[in-house]
């Protein structure tokens, strides 16, 4: 029984090992010649004047949220694609209705101007 966990164990070790090795390798292999200019936040460019923890433009959230909603609906398309032949015409009609409903939502979002960046 415990043997069946070996692949999971190998994967965990592999993933952790990879991260540690890559991180450390950078430290050992990479050349290090620090100077004051290099230690500043932006090597070339202006000094940061404000905190990095600032609010993003709200448009960013809007697009991100719309992306989540429309993106996740694709999970319903995969099972349909896999069993397309089996479901035949009724399946096609059903999915057509589903996509039509999605399109209504998309149309609303579009006309409300949520997709415009500026």
């Amino acid at each position: 029984m415990i043997e069946s966990y070996i692949p999971i164990f190998i994967m965990i070790v592999g993933a952790m090992g990879f991260a540690v090795v890559m991180g450390k390798m950078n430290e050992f292999v990479g050349p290090k010649r620090p100077s004051e200019e290099k230690l500043s936040t932006y090597e070339s460019g202006m000094e940061p004047v404000r905190s990095a923890r600032e609010r993003f433009s709200v448009k960013f959230y809007m697009v991100a949220m719309l992306f989540i909603v429309f993106d996740i609906e694709v999970v319903f398309l995969y099972p349909w694609a896999v069993s397309y032949k089996l479901l035949g015409t009724p399946g096609f009609i059903t999915m057509f209705v589903f996509i039509a409903v999605l399109l209504v939502g998309y149309f609303y979002v579009w006309r409300k101007g949520a997709l415009e960046w500026d």
Partner: protein, 100 residues
């Protein structure tokens, strides 16, 4: 083969971690993440039962859980942002105009 009970223990543990997170954390976003963890533990339970029973219903339900969770995430984040814009905080202890 890994027995069913192991999957169930893992998912029950995830569920408990999620619910303890909901009850103990005070940041709205973290609370929301804990709820998502609970939903994902449900998905794990459904998947393991589904494969154990050889029945496809569980997988189907897991799809629905995923999509509904996404819809909830969109609405929830919108609510949190609307609140943040007015109060500049997502700390649940500071969101308390109404008290009995």
């Amino acid at each position: 083969m890994i027995p069913l009970s192991h999957y169930l223990i893992v998912s029950a543990t995830m569920f408990v971690i999620g619910s303890v997170g909901v009850l103990s954390r005070r940041n709205a976003i973290i609370v929301f993440l804990s709820i998502e963890l609970m939903l994902n533990s449900v998905n794990l339970t459904l998947m393991s039962f589904s494969s154990f029973l050889g029945d496809v219903t569980g997988q189907m339900l897991a799809f629905f859980v995923m999509t509904v969770a996404a819809a909830e995430a969109a609405v929830g984040l919108a609510i949190i942002i609307a609140l943040f814009r007015r109060k500049q905080t997502v700390n649940l202890d500071e969101i308390n105009i109404m008290k009995w």
